[in-house]
């Protein structure tokens, strides 16, 4: 298997393959962060999470088209505005959905799954009716094209680096909000004991709505970042939803650190295996390993020790 490559080549292959894994890791982390908040903190199974992500991607696409036709001079910076818009759009939709649908179902977690699945079907069809069934791609600004030249045989695409930096920033931001801010304390209090949290004067309904909105908003940002590395279609979100749930469950639902660790191990395993075998078998083996480990250790990698 390795006979045809020199040692230097092999090193480069592993670095490049590892880098491809890192990009996959960034997408997983971005998607899983929102889900970890919604599923891990609130216990709501949001099957429509992928569709919130796709909404962010479509918002980014529309922003880029707008800049292209009306403000070509500012085109190189459109992405930052697009990200904010994606966050606002997905977050607002999330809060609306929470108000209409989810808040009636907090005591029936399995039913949230069915209801949000229905929501995801509706959103998919809505995207198809509005944006068409074909996949759309975003035109990248000039500075994001090309790649960094590390050595003769190792090249690193700039958009990948950008997505990774973005992931780090957003992760740090979410960790700060959840663990350091007053609002994050309220969220965790509501999660741990809704009745007591209400008794000490936290408006639990409001906290729920904003938590759900935040999770969906982050999904929107994830979708926005997703446009940098792939094209967007009405059903793109569904491709990732199961992987993302596995990432969250594998990491231990209530732990952000666990989510990151599991996203890292799953993406690296998959991209390394992909080099040795066909993509589908790599995926099968990775998922099998995850399911196998979950059967042995159902609480996931990092479990919070909570008395139930």
């Amino acid at each position: 298997m390795f006979g045809d490559y020199s040692l230097g080549d092999l090193g480069s292959i592993f670095v490049m393959q590892g880098f491809a894994g890192l990009i996959l890791f960034s997408v997983y982390v971005l998607m899983a962060l929102g889900l970890a908040i919604i599923f891990g903190q609130m216990g709501v199974i949001n099957m429509a999470h992928g569709e919130f992500m796709i909404l962010g991607a479509y918002v980014t696409w529309m922003t880029s088209s707008f800049f292209q036709s009306y403000l070509p001079s500012l085109f190189s910076g459109y992405f930052f505005l697009a990200m904010i818009l994606a966050f606002v759009a997905s977050g607002a939709l999330g809060m609306l959905v929470e108000w209409v649908l989810i808040r009636h179902l907090y005591r029936r977690p399995l039913d949230t799954l069915l209801a949000t699945w229905g929501l995801s079907l509706i959103l998919q069809q809505a995207y198809r009716s509005v944006f068409g069934a074909r996949e759309v791609g975003v035109e990248l600004p000039q500075w994001m094209l090309g790649s960094l030249h590390v050595s003769d045989s190792i090249e690193v695409p700039i958009n990948g680096v950008f997505v990774m930096c973005l992931t780090v920033l957003i992760t740090v931001g979410v960790a700060y909000v959840m663990y350091k801010s007053r609002w994050g304390r309220q969220v965790r209090a509501v999660v741990q004991n809704r009745i007591m949290a209400g008794a000490v004067g936290i408006n639990t309904e409001k906290v729920d709505r904003y938590t759900y909105g935040l999770g969906c908003g982050i999904a929107g940002v994830a979708g926005s970042a997703f446009t940098m590395i792939g094209s967007t279609g009405p059903t793109s979100g569904q491709l990732y939803i199961v992987d993302t749930f596995l990432v969250v469950v594998f990491g231990g639902a209530a732990s952000l650190l666990g989510t990151i660790a599991s996203a890292f191990s799953i993406s690296q395993t998959q991209s390394t295996l992909e080099f040795f075998m066909s993509g589908s078998m790599a995926k099968v083996l990775t998922l099998l390993a995850v399911v196998g480990i979950l059967m042995l250790r159902p609480q996931g990698l990092f479990a919070l020790k909570v008395r139930k």
């Binding site: 199974i45 039913d111 199961v242 589908s280």
Partner: protein, 380 residues
């Protein structure tokens, strides 16, 4: 209800009405094409019936029923495919006597795991045992460790994803994304002409009623009551000395076997099997059949399946865009407004009026749904 009989009076009437509907009314009023469509829908009714036992009574939501539907279907399809690829039928291939898709994928000998499927009795055993044992393994691994509820749903979903990717990826052994097509005969008896379709329809309805009887038996036995108790307050049942895990495993296995029988019927009636019935999307769609019919109602599952599929066929023929909106809305409506589905509507609104007409003045008999468990899924 303290009696241990199969069914009470109104349930008996319900089953009789369904039997008349499926055995007499539909075959007399529909042409063979439509009847074959009904046969296709009814294969999903097996899955829905399994979900009533496992989800409605046991409180275990499995989003991977497509896996078992697929396993049963593929077992049956493998047998039929082997019979269709006899040496005479496949003369033009570079290796005669193996299924056509293997020949296209440069496989020159029949793989080992295909060989036993040339025997019908082995195939029938496999249709029951393969999914049953698979469910036993998953169920034991999960329930013995007290994994349940949402986690179980997600993991079954992952299993469905894995199996789909595997089937699509291993094209040479499974027929890939196209599945197994061109199934012709069962022990020399052609399954394609109209009269064969009618015979298969009645055979399928017979199997369906056998499964309904099994489900009724489970529901009215002590076992069924423990299942319901477990769904409502798992800890109390455990503290009373019952092994909760074993009951859950049993319910899950029953659901798996029902789904597998449905899959096998699908291969027989429709004449092909493909991974598009295995994955996550069809698996969740199968859950909605049960939810629409009423997750606690055995007969509701059959009606729910028929209704959703009729709506799907007619809506997607005339308004293809509307269908997904309709299906999505159905999910939301069933969860928010009608947690007990059609059976709930029947039990709450229609049945009392009929009773009032018939028994005016006399005390009201027991309804055919458990209205005491209206609150759906268990608390975690």
């Amino acid at each position: 209800m303290t009696d241990n009989r199969f069914f009470n009076r109104s349930e008996f009437i319900g089953i009789l009405v369904l039997a008349v509907f499926l055995v007499v009314v539909l075959p007399l009023t529909l042409d063979v094409f439509r009847l074959n469509l009904v046969a296709k829908y009814l294969t999903y009714a097996f899955v829905a019936l399994g979900l009533v036992v496992c989800w409605g009574y046991g409180g275990i939501l499995s989003l991977g029923q497509g896996v078992f539907f697929g396993l049963g279907g593929y077992c049956m399809a493998m047998f039929l495919k082997l019979e269709a690829s006899s040496v005479e039928n496949t003369k033009i291939q570079s290796t005669p006597g193996i299924p056509d898709f293997m020949d296209w994928n440069q496989i020159t000998a029949l793989p080992l795991f295909w060989k036993p499927f040339s025997s019908l009795s082995f195939t029938i055993a496999a249709i029951i045992l393969v999914p049953g044992i698979f469910a036993l393994i998953i169920g034991t691994a999960m329930f013995k460790r007290r994994v349940g509820g949402t986690y179980f749903a997600i993991i079954t979903q992952a299993v469905a994803a894995i199996l789909t990717i595997l089937i699509v990826g291993q094209q040479g052994y499974t027929g890939g994304i196209n599945g197994m097509t061109d199934l012709r005969t069962l022990k020399g008896w052609d399954i394609r002409p109209d009269h064969a379709k009618i015979v298969l329809y009645f055979f399928e309805v017979g199997c369906l009623f056998a499964c309904i009887m099994i489900a009724q038996f489970v529901r009215h036995s002590k076992l069924g009551r423990i299942l319901v108790a477990m769904r409502e307050k798992e800890d109390r049942v455990r503290f009373s000395g019952y092994s909760v895990a074993n009951f859950k495993i049993f319910a899950f296995c029953v659901a798996a076997v029902f789904a597998a029988i449905g899959g096998a019927m699908f291969a027989l009636n429709v004449g092909f099997m493909s991974p598009s019935f295995v994955g996550i999307v069809p698996s969740i769609e199968m859950v909605i059949y049960t939810a629409v019919g009423g997750r606690l109602s055995i007969l509701g599952a059959v009606y729910g399946t028929l209704l959703v599929n009729f709506a799907k066929t007619s809506l997607s023929e005339t308004f293809p865009e509307l269908w997904l909106f309709g299906l999505g809305g159905l999910f939301i409506a069933v969860v928010l407004a009608f947690p007990n589905g059609l059976a709930g509507i029947w039990g709450d609104y229609v049945q009392p009026r009929i009773d009032r007409l018939i028994y005016s003045g006399k005390p009201k008999p027991a309804g055919w749904t458990d209205s005491s468990v209206a609150d759906g899924a268990p608390a975690e």
